[in-house]
Amino acid sequence: MGSLFHRLTAASLLLAGLTFAAEVDYLRDVKPILTQHCVRCHGENKIEAGLRADTAAALREGGDNGSALRAREGGESLLLQVVTGQHGDIARMPYKRPPLDDTLVAKLRAWVTQGAPAPADEIPGRFEHWAFVAPKRPAVPSVARREWPRTPVDAFVLARLEQERVSPAPEADRVTLLRRASLDLTGLPPSPAEVTAFIADQTPDAYARVVERLLASPHYGERWARPWLDVARYADSNGYSIDAPRQIWKYRDWVVNAINRDQPFDQFVVEQLAGDLLPNATRDQRVATGFNRNTQINQEGGIDPEQFRIESVLDRVSTFGTAFLGVTLSCAQCHDHKFDPFTQRDYYRMFAFFNNTVDDGHGRSNPGGTLAFTDEMPPKDASNHELETARAELERILDGKRDAILAWLKDLRIEAKVALGGTAREALEIPWAEQTLAHKRALYAAYQPTDADFKARAAKITRLERNERKPVTTLVMSELPKPRDSFLFIKGDFTRKGEPVTPGTPAILPPLKVADGARPNRLDLARWLVDPANPLTARVYVNRIWQQYFGRGLVETENDFGTQGSPPSHPELLDWLATELVAQGWSTKAIHRAIVLSATYRQSSRVRPDLEEKDPLNKLLARQTRLRLDAEVVRDVALVASGQFNPKLGGPPVFPPQPDGVMNLGQVKREWKPSTGGDRYRRGLYTHLWRATPHPALAVFDGTDGFSACTRRLRSNTPLQALTLLNDEQFYEFAQALAQRVQREANGDLAAQLTHAFRLCLARAPSANELVRVTQLYREQLATATGDEATRRGEAWTVIARVLLNLDETITRE
């Protein structure tokens, strides 16, 4: 009936030359247009040009440009002028969006012409955007092909496919499936033995048991920590120009462990945002707050430290928006958000949450900002003992000269005292008995600067201190006793303070719950975030998980769920996953199971010519997608194939070889001493990440640089990647090791050896054609190589290994 009515109306409109008959009704015909197209910027959250469009009365009253409804001199009302683009000074509305249909304009015109009648007790229209309304648990749809779905995920996908009259792709073969699940869940390829076992296991739950094995593997935490660390902008150096090293790897290990024990996502978030503020916070919970200490620190001379302290607070707000809410909050740093209902004031109220910690803009170690693991000290060595002795001796000598030093001090003139160095000046305020050796040393050095014995002893101590044992440390958030005052910065410029602001959350989102009269803090913010009433947190998180499996999120713009982002391809599926996450006690592993066990995930990734026109980007999910592996996993796959893989978990970052001269590219040449022994063969996750000079083998495959929150990596495909896999020292080392391994592990028959080599790199055996080609290559190499039999074989095998490690398939999850 409704659509018939519409069609009739449209027809009569055409007949009437797009004027509207008398039947236009404000609430039925006009208000929905205003609510959908105008209220976002002219409503309770944002009042552009002083005009509200959420009631007829407000339109009549108007804003900065006068009434929107009153007819203007020689023409129409302002409302009609702007929606038709006829106004000389004001841009066509809706601003930077498609113009309203002629039928909608005609309705508005008819209503205004009628004198704009509207009920007096009108309730203001509210802008609604799907992502700002909490998800409701959708019913799992029914489908015609009832045998296809394996998890509820499939019902949503298949319902859509059936609607589009597209059938899903067949399941991938078992080897592909195992390699896919292994790479997706652990970032490591399956071993040939695992492949054999899986093929042999014909029980119905064989695949489900493999998935459980992979989810229980400690490497699962390593693989899934990586995208989270990208979001957390984790790196092992301070960034900016100096890019000094920093210790924060304890935070990285915390993430790996939390993911491995499937810490509920709500707790995972609360601890990272406000672990320090939890009652009786544990050391682990404080380590977790390193999330917001992954900001850059500028140690360049001559800077204004306050400017860079504020930069890190701005980064925290921006990261909060990107990582948890999936919105572009940072657009509101300089002005109200152009498209989403976030005001500049909203932005600085968020700023006020993060503006109260002890860290400064220069990276000085303020008390509380660094956590020391005094229980994790390296063992003492001879030089440490020597240092202790040297210190004790010097302290004894200086104590013996106490009276002389104090007498000298007493007679010292005030100007001379002022001229003393920092430590000595500090010592003036402290009684001798409470002074540290450093104080005493500084005083004595000022008193007797030429004492040769003292100088020799001091120099020896300085030398030994270079090798002094220091506890492991990590950067943490730590609140100031009294919060800083926060202000809105005019045009985002910190030198131009506007109105003062207090901590608060954006008005469009559910209200923040705080104890009466209390000033909200980061802990309140964190709890607000993981309240199931929050419409964004769970959706944004499950969408990023989905993106890892299919290369594209259900919301393609994974960092913009606002009005400028793409709408979800499968809205009900997104909401089902989001509500499932909460229903499963925020268990991330539950979401992994729902996806990895699904028939949707298990489809073949072969491109379907039949869908080239209809669905070229595979948004309908009628197949899987081939995905080039992430930078770290490109390394890990070669490492495992070579047999050199060191599975050790956690610990300080390591230094696998890289070409000479890479570190020269930074302003300060940092040392890169390649790790030896086991640390040379660790996963890419553990490679020391210098922000200014990231490891080239990671950077070239789009690894992150830790400058800002990264929610999706690019997948580029470049000649420099080819040069890396072909010629890089370590990749060549992997090829040589793989060559030796194949000769060692597979005996006899060349075909069997080649098959083993294929299985180590690709999990599968070669096709007949492929076998012919590599056999030909092997013979060719053997014929041209020189030396004894073993040398010639070794050379030929190295060529084969190099070819296999360079294949597109090797660095791709199919």
């Binding site: 500028n298 001269g661 040449k669 200014a692 800002s708 000649p719 080819a722 072909l726 597109d808």
Partner: protein
Amino acid sequence: MTMPAPTPNLPALTRRHFFSRCGMGLGGIALASMLGQRQLLGAEARPLEHPLAPKPTHFPARAKNIIFLFMAGGPSQLELFDYKPKLNELNGQPIPQSFIEGKRFAFMDSSHGVKLLGTRRKFARHGQSGAWVSDLFPHTAGIVDDISIVKSCQATLFNHAPAKLFMNTGSGQFGRPSMGSWINYGLGSECQDLPGFVVLQSGPRGPRGGAVNWGSGFLPTTYQGVPFRGAGDPILNLSTPHGVTAQKQRQTLDAIRDLNLQRAVETGDAEIHTRIAAYEMAARMQASAPDLIDLTSESEATLKLYGADRKEPSFARNCLIARRLVQRGVRFVQLYHTNWDSHGGPGENLQGDFEKVCREVDQGQAALIRDLKAHGLLKDTLVVWGGEFGRTPMGENRDTTGRNHHIDAFTMWFAGGGVKPGQVLGDTDELGFNAVGDKAHVHDIHATLLHLLGLDHKRLTFHFQGRDYRLTDVHGELITRLYS
């Protein structure tokens, strides 16, 4: 439920292309390849669509390539181009408060003086244009009629790393694409065997901020600058591993291609074709990059013009390599030379240290202009000279003299590629503190460089995190007098 509008996506386009082009014949091609009958492939092989394929400009271009001579650290315009007799007259006196009110400076919290510092350099007018150039740039003084000197440049940020980023990316924040990346994204590359954006470095240390200065930010890494090195391999991992002969490398590449092609047939994934093309490009780079830096074919006269040695790394040698790069169609070449940060301390004073760094660049940069002209390349090649900012008219109170960072007025020069030669644009007040007339902010410079390349800076956009980004952000006015 509505499907989002399809976004432009390269793999999708090439995949369609692949199906329409190859539909029937690809299996046959793969088979021919497998059997080693590559001559069969030769007739079929066509270049695949590639992110660096040349693209049309927005309007006719005046320049095709850019060589940016980046004087890292911020050279003192007051010792080189901006002659201020009044400053010499007032040497040692405090700067009038009216000049510095409300300004922020680097090292503002320290005890650096605010007294004016006259220059010790001798200035003279040169060429038909009568441009002032000091005695530190004798060679450059000889090319003033080929260049356009802009004395009224302005920047926003006054610390090195952010300011350098700003000059390169239009923003002090990390993560934005650099100018060279934007240009390769906008125009593609006309060179099939070298990257479209090459970076060369000289001087005592790397530029502050390092690789982010030529990073591609949120653009695909295809567009990032590739640093060529002064010694060893010009590109990382360019040499085959020890013991791998050229023949063996070729046989390896052939096998990789054949197996990849087979997989492409099986999976139908066009991305594999891009990878095959990338490996071929890599092989061509292996052949062409050593040839690029092999200067044996350059005459003694050319080497003498530049003051360059065939082997020894130097700014002058990099200038010569820059000419060879644009000859080969490389779109954007950037040379960094450090260190211009003349605060006055050891290694960075305005006396001997400054003379040294001037000597290091003067002959090479002048030779580059002359040589490009002689080769007929200057009309298509836009040469840009400048640092991230300039220096203050005030001297710093250190042991030897130096100047602080200054963003309100500094000098850059431009040549070739449509730039009007032999003019001096803009001026500064009598102390050289503020720009007067024809102000050229970094955003304006970016807009103008893109314009000369045939690109509208407002239309060269990339959608990222919910908005369309530009090199010029929301700014940028064309400096029309630079080219008309």
